[in-house]
């Protein structure tokens, strides 16, 4: 940037936005005030391009305790138990520094959840990269996985599942999303409110440094280009040890009922942690920046207000409890400081070194944030792409195609990833990574929670509405095959540059698709996140909405289905609509090097819901349930054979088709009663290989390909 650029533009603000600040204040903003508006009104913090479209989501259900808008969604599990869930992206920071970017992403999503009063019990990661033949992508995958492991393992929250996708579209713009689930008793629920006048604001945790000044907000609100290197100094370093102490300290505060509200410090740091709780409570606040404990000397007011130093929380405490709060902080060996007092009226008044540095309406940072209705238009390339023919499979034997699929890093085993994550801590993980949804028991109850997270940029590129809807149905089915019924959805919308009408159209269509599916399944969206500007040198990523579905199994199946429970002599059935045979957007199309194209098979709302319910019921009776997704029936069936170490003979058509609402069942003949209107027997277990319509792979070879697909490329 040249020196002559006005400050507000250097801070990423448009002239119009600057004008409305002047209008709100009735004067020119002071530097600290301008800094606050610039971060709070950034795309990342204000959702200014997506807000009006997010209203489309169904968000109500009798079991919703807290919907979108708070730090995390909260749903009622019965018997006094609540679950808190949220998903976040850390795409741009992870490209700049994969280890720290991913690590601080984990730290951030954890804070969103324990801010609500819940103990974080599990994490799921959704990570996307360009192809692994490019060393840069191997470096990124390695750094991101180490970062998630390094932070998640050390902070003591297991990462029990996730999702990984490779596509050239993510070259230069990897996606790193993380979802967190927390558990609490009803009494522990806390909101991000500043409470009533007189309430004291106590800053807990890490000292404030110049970390990530404008980091998340600026990085996540502007596209990459040659300059992105110049943005590097704002890299933040995660400290899981500090976060672990912060979690324990906060949970003790909730137990002892010592806080009226809590707000984590994430993007926009103190600016957000003071203005948002005050805004929500309709009060004002006096803040003394000199009280903030700092890591570096000589920090200016704008720096203190914009710093994104990690592992910090703001607790709002009644005066009589302040001493006890400070004691608990020191017991857990974390720093704490009284930094503010809640006041009548809506004014946020901030002092630094004796000067008044900001005096603004607290609510204006959120409520008056710009709201854009950006132009949207269906890309004109859509028709051509959707008209592309399906790949011709006739030159290939089925076993050859299956070999290629099992050897694909996006389809093969993810053990190389999830064995770097502690996925067993807390002794809840009944079904962990490596199958469909994860199943976590709630000890001391009959209940268990199931989660699956799913995304598919290739499908959403061909049809964002159908693609996004199918994701919700797939995640719901992944949850159902563990014996759970879907309860709620969180979504993470990873898109390109919203200033392009095509990208806005993709966003709106995806939101429509997610909403349709949620309505069909009767589940609400309780939280989410939007990540725009995922483009590099003008090229946008495939539209990549990611959804996480939470389900409740009550009771949990006594012996849950597992991919490893098939035995010789068992039969294999496929349940669901007859496949159309379409290969549009399929894994086969990709691994055969064909251009991503065609019109993906649409979802079927009533049918989708019925299939999910059927799977949830069957899960209490059968040995193996597995949903059909990437690689179609062939890969799903092979995964059962490989995990159970038993051969399998399949005889049916369209084995690589990925049509939605379908799952596999394995069990002894005659013991499983399936609705014969849409259940078909397709195979029998036994023998030394996986044989598809007479074309066979030795079981050992299939297992080796599947196991080595990822590690052999990372060596």
């Amino acid at each position: 940037m040249t020196v002559s650029t006005p400050v507000h533009q250097q801070l990423g603000m448009t002239d119009a936005e600057y004008e409305s600040v002047i209008e709100i204040l009735g004067r020119d903003p002071r530097p600290a005030e301008l800094a606050m508006y610039s971060v709070m009104w950034s795309e990342h913090c204000s959702y200014k391009s997506s807000r009006r479209h997010l209203r489309r989501f169904p968000t109500e259900a009798p079991w919703v305790v807290v919907g979108p808008g708070e730090n995390a969604g909260v749903v009622d599990l019965g018997d006094g138990w609540l679950a808190a869930l949220r998903i976040e992206s850390h795409n741009h920071p992870s490209f700049v520094e994969p280890y720290q970017g991913a690590a601080t992403g984990v730290g951030g999503i954890l804070r969103d959840v324990f801010t609500m009063g819940a103990r974080p019990i599990a994490l799921w990661d959704q990570i996307r990269f360009g192809n692994l033949d490019n060393p840069k992508n191997r470096y990124l995958l390695n750094g991101v996985v180490s970062g998630i492991a390094g932070y998640g393992n050390a902070v003591g929250v297991p990462t029990v599942g996730g999702e990984v996708e490779f596509d050239p579209g993510y070259d230069g713009n990897p996606l790193v999303n993380v979802m967190c689930l927390g558990l609490m008793k009803r009494e522990q629920l806390v909101l991000g409110t500043a409470g009533t006048p007189g309430t004291i604001a106590v800053l807990l945790g890490n000292a404030t440094g110049r970390d990530g000044i404008g980091g998340a907000s600026v990085l996540a609100s502007a596209s990459f280009d040659e300059e992105s290197g110049a943005k590097r100094p704002s890299v933040q370093v995660g400290d899981p040890f500090e976060e672990k102490k912060l979690i324990e300290a906060c949970l003790e505060l909730y137990d002892k009922n010592l806080v009226v509200g809590v707000q984590d410090l994430g993007a926009a740091g103190l600016s957000c942690a003071t203005s948002e709780p005050a805004g929500r409570a309709g009060v004002g606040m006096e803040v003394d920046l000199d009280a903030v404990h700092t890591r570096e000397s000589g920090m200016t007011a704008p720096e203190l207000l914009m710093s994104e130093s990690q592992e910090r929380m703001m607790a709002f405490v009644s005066p009589e409890n302040v001493d006890q709060v400070l004691q608990i902080a020191s017991h857990w060996e974390i720093e704490s400081a009284v930094v503010g007092t809640v006041r009548e009226g809506g004014s946020l008044t901030i002092r630094h070194e004796g000067d008044l540095v900001a005096e603004i309406p607290a609510a204006s940072l959120a409520d008056n944030a710009p709201l854009y209705d950006r132009p949207a238009a269906r890309p004109e390339w859509m028709d051509a792409v959707r008209a592309l023919p399906d790949p011709d499979l006739t030159p290939y034997q089925p076993n050859r195609i299956l070999e290629i699929l099992l050897d694909d890093p996006g389809i093969g085993s993810t053990a190389w990833i999830h064995e770097q994550y502690d996925h067993m801590l807390f002794l809840n993980t009944v079904v962990g990574p490596g199958s469909d949804g994860s199943l976590l028991r709630i000890q001391g109850t009959e209940k268990a929670l199931a989660v699956s997270t799913d995304g598919n940029g290739r499908l959403c590129y061909l049809d964002p509405r159908v693609g996004a809807a199918r994701l919700v149905f797939e995640a719901a089915l992944n949850v159902a095959v563990t014996g759970a019924r879907p309860l709620a959805v969180v979504d993470n919308l990873n898109f390109g540059n919203p200033e392009k009408p095509e990208v806005m159209w993709q966003l709106i269509e995806s939101i429509e698709g997610i909403s349709e599916a949620c309505e069909a399944l009767g589940i609400p969206v309780v939280g989410g996140n939007v990540s725009f500007y995922n483009e590099t040198d003008g090229v946008d990523i495939n539209p990549t909405p990611v959804v996480g579905v939470l389900g409740l199994a009550d009771p949990m199946p006594e012996i849950p289905p597992r991919l490893s429970r098939a035995e010789a002599g068992m039969k294999l059935w496929v349940v669901g609509p007859r496949p159309t045979g379409s290969l549009a957007g399929s894994a086969v199309q990709r691994v055969l090097g064909e251009r991503n194209g065609g019109s993906p098979t649409s979802h079927h709302p009533e049918f989708g819901a019925r299939i999910v319910e059927l799977a949830a019921r069957l899960a209490h009776k059968v040995a193996v349930l597995h949903d059909i997704s990437d690689g179609g029936l062939a890969v799903a069936a092979a995964e059962i054979a490989i995990n159970s170490d038993v051969g399998l003979t399949i005889d049916t058509e369209h084995v690589f088709c990925e049509d939605p609402h379908r799952f596999l069942v394995a069990g002894p003949p005659g013991t499983v009663d399936l609705p014969d209107d849409f259940a078909v027997e397709v195979g029998v277990f036994g023998g030394v290989g996986i044989s598809i319509n007479g074309s066979m792979i030795p079981l050992g070879r299939a297992a080796d390909l599947y196991a080595a697909a990822l590690p052999r490329r990372m060596r």
């Binding site: 520094e97 720290q100 370093v237 400290d239 040890f241």
Partner: protein, 80 residues
């Protein structure tokens, strides 16, 4: 030749480990310690006898693998 490569963390980047070690030293009664920073050193044994060539080579290694420019600077010393 023996080459020493010092990686030093950029000053503006937080060093949680150093902070924790500093706290531990204080707890042990070492009050006079103002700050602790933890860094890494590589000791390389590189074939060849032209210090300049080796320095160029090691510089490449640092840029490509050994150092993370986002977090740290590197310094190369040809020892003998």
């Amino acid at each position: 030749m023996k080459v020493r490569v010092d990686l030093t963390r950029r000053p503006e980047i937080a060093d949680p480990q150093g902070t924790t070690i500093n706290r531990a030293l204080k707890d042990l009664g070492f009050e006079d310690v103002a700050s602790v920073r933890v860094d890494k050193v590589f000791h390389l044994d590189v074939a060849g006898d032209d210090p300049e060539l080796i320095r160029q080579q090691v510089t490449k290694m640092c840029q490509q693998l050994l150092a993370n420019p986002v977090l740290e600077n590197f310094e190369i010393e040809i020892e003998k």
